[in-house]
Amino acid sequence: MRELEYRHALREAFDEELERDENVVIMGEEVAQYNGAYKVTQGLWDKWGDKRIVDTPISEAGFIGMGIGASMLGIRPVMELMFWSFHSVAFDQLVNNAAHMRYMSGGKANCPIVVRGPANGGTNVGATHSHTPEGLFAAFPGLKVVSPATPSDAKGLMKAAIRDNDPVYVMENTLLYGMKGPVPEPADGDHFIPLGVADIKREGTDVTLVAHGRSVLHALDAAVILQEEHGISAEVVDLRSIRPLDQDAIINSVKKTNRAVMVDESKPFCGVSAQIITLIQEYAFDYLDAPIKRVTSLDAPAIYAPALENEQLPTVAKIITKVLSITPVKK
């Protein structure tokens, strides 16, 4: 199968959806003439022009609110936050308006928007630019949150997000934009991955690693070492979608392996990992042979120091240590 960069896979999703539905419009800072701060939208303005690819001022509350308002009339804005970290200046629009419009109108309105952009640490840009708010937004009923780890998932989930009639917040990752992976050819059919379906990225029998976004790659690397050096067979469950959540995939895996370690780049306090652990203890308590462990970002604002930042984030070594703390070594 051909290989595409993550950013290219996203771009292909936009291009196909722009073609499919005349109401799809891409908006954001530098998305058009500049070709995207991270080149995700490169070439789209040349092809689709001013009406479909719209440069906005640095004015997140303004343009995201505008997209929400337009979506109520059936426009389907796909809005880029240059960093998801900038959510805080548009929070009222992202939560009170996008998440609650349908409810407060008794179901008379809905907001078919996508808000997307990178949400990750690891690039030495300090605490203001390193937020991972997937758990924060997934905590608001009315919102949907997805976090793709691979180019193929990025394309398929983005297409599902654009066609969804509820607000979907797609959390990407600047460190993944340049990574390559197999993506099916458009000629082979519509590459669409439903929200709410996890993917078993590696099958295993001894311990379940639950992850999303870039943490999936760390979990996969750890799984290789665990097998080779310790004889431990780790299963990697990639959530892909935080809300809606594929609870069955998590619970079925834990019932099989009887052990679980969460790998989650967000912070530990009420993070995604905390919610998953609650579900495991509720639905698979009798199957557990050990306490559930987790590897999250260390619980402080994101540090700048290049020498330290990676140590604040989940690492392969930390995952291995946690797994070894609850799993018998087989060799």
Partner: protein
């Protein structure tokens, strides 16, 4: 800034009004007034929850501006939304039932006083956060333009909302992208308990801030419906024909507090100020006197309209009282479109996280 007192009845948009149209405007004013008066007793009896922001004293603003709206013109406002809803054609029954939190309410009891909605009548709420609706109004107008329709959005906000960042962001984008939105500042002089002079820095008037964005603006004497209509029509024409935004500041006054629960509303302004407005500037009385003076309606006929409006409000209270509460299961309705519509997406993955 001094308000001009020119006679705007001769403007084309007002000359087009038939006697029936003028009487209809009076009926709208009277229904707004009687509806809100009808809420007082049940509110004080504890039959409604939360806030109740009354529009009484300001009716001419919503009645005058919305009387100009056509098929592709949309309306969105803040939390003082009852009159706009009625002017857009919503019924007293569904509005009163919403105040009572009943299942028959316009938002099925999920919105309350601040969140009336009827998109089918181009009424998009009813929004509780000060200034939060101003980017949404921008977006509605953007949507109209995107679809190639000749229309606009009337986006209302109070004088207290003009200092919110979202409003300024909206003004910038509106002018930059030529979006047919009309921001209508309903200036009742007080942002909750803080007078205009204590809350806003300005030179001559609030709408003048539009100049900073190179945007057209005007100031309107809100007690004169002919003036409200004449000046709003200029803005609508600008939106329809040039796809350009406008800021209108319409001066008005509210008789009651910021909300019914505003304990200090007679402290931050004098009783004389309120009395003077009621006696000399009441917009319902002024329009009544105007159309009686024009000889198109009699005192008796006006009284009949008022009586009918009062009876309609009383019937709405009865309807609301007799309506069912929302069922507990409905708490989970209207959260996700895909779940409500039982689609494949709505049935994939877990959407709700109760035990």
């Amino acid at each position: 800034m001094d308000i001009t007192t020119s006679d705007y009845s001769g403007y084309a948009i007002n000359q087009k009004l038939t006697p029936e149209d003028k009487i209809d405007i009076y009926r709208t004013l009277s229904r707004m007034r009687r509806f809100e008066q009808g809420t007082q007793k049940p509110y004080s009896q504890g039959k409604m929850g939360g806030f109740l922001h009354l529009y009484i004293g300001q009716e001419s603003v919503a009645a005058g501006t919305i009387s100009l709206c056509g098929e592709n013109d949309h309306v969105i406002t803040a939390y003082r939304c009852h009159a706009h809803a009625l002017a857009c054609g919503m019924t007293m029954d569904e509005c009163m039932a919403e105040l009572f939190g009943k299942y028959t309410g316009c938002s099925k009891g999920k919105g309350g006083s601040m969140h009336f909605f009827d998109p089918a009548k181009n009424f998009w709420g009813g929004h509780g956060i000060v200034g939060g609706q101003t980017p949404l109004g921008l977006g509605l107008a953007y949507g109209v333009k995107y679809k190639g329709l000749k229309g606009c959005c009337l986006c209302y906000l109070g004088d207290g909302a003009i200092n919110q960042g979202a409003f300024h962001e909206s003004l910038n984008i509106a002018e930059l992208h030529n979006i047919p939105v009309i921001y209508i500042i309903e200036n009742n002089g007080y942002s909750m308990g803080t007078s205009q002079n204590r809350s806003s820095a300005y030179k001559d008037c609030l709408a003048q801030r539009a100049e900073a964005y190179d945007m057209a603006w005007d100031i309107v004497n809100g007690e004169d419906i002919y003036e409200v209509r004449a000046k709003t029509q200029i803005a609508i024409d600008r939106a329809h024909n040039e796809s350009k935004p406008t800021v209108l500041e319409i001066t008005t006054y509210r008789y009651y507090g910021h909300s019914v629960a505003d304990a200090n509303h007679k402290k931050y302004r004098t009783p004389e100020e309120i009395t003077k407005y009621k006696n000399d500037h009441d917009p319902v009385n002024l329009w009544k006197n105007r159309i009686i003076g024009e000889g198109i309606i009699s005192e008796e006929e006006v009284k009949a309209i008022d009586t009918a409006a009062k009876q309609e409000a009383a019937a709405a209270v009865k309807f609301a009282e007799e309506s069912p509460d929302p069922p507990v299961e409905s708490i989970f309705d209207d959260v996700y479109w895909e779940v409500d519509n039982n689609t494949e997406a709505g049935n994939t993955g877990r959407h709700f996280f109760n035990d």
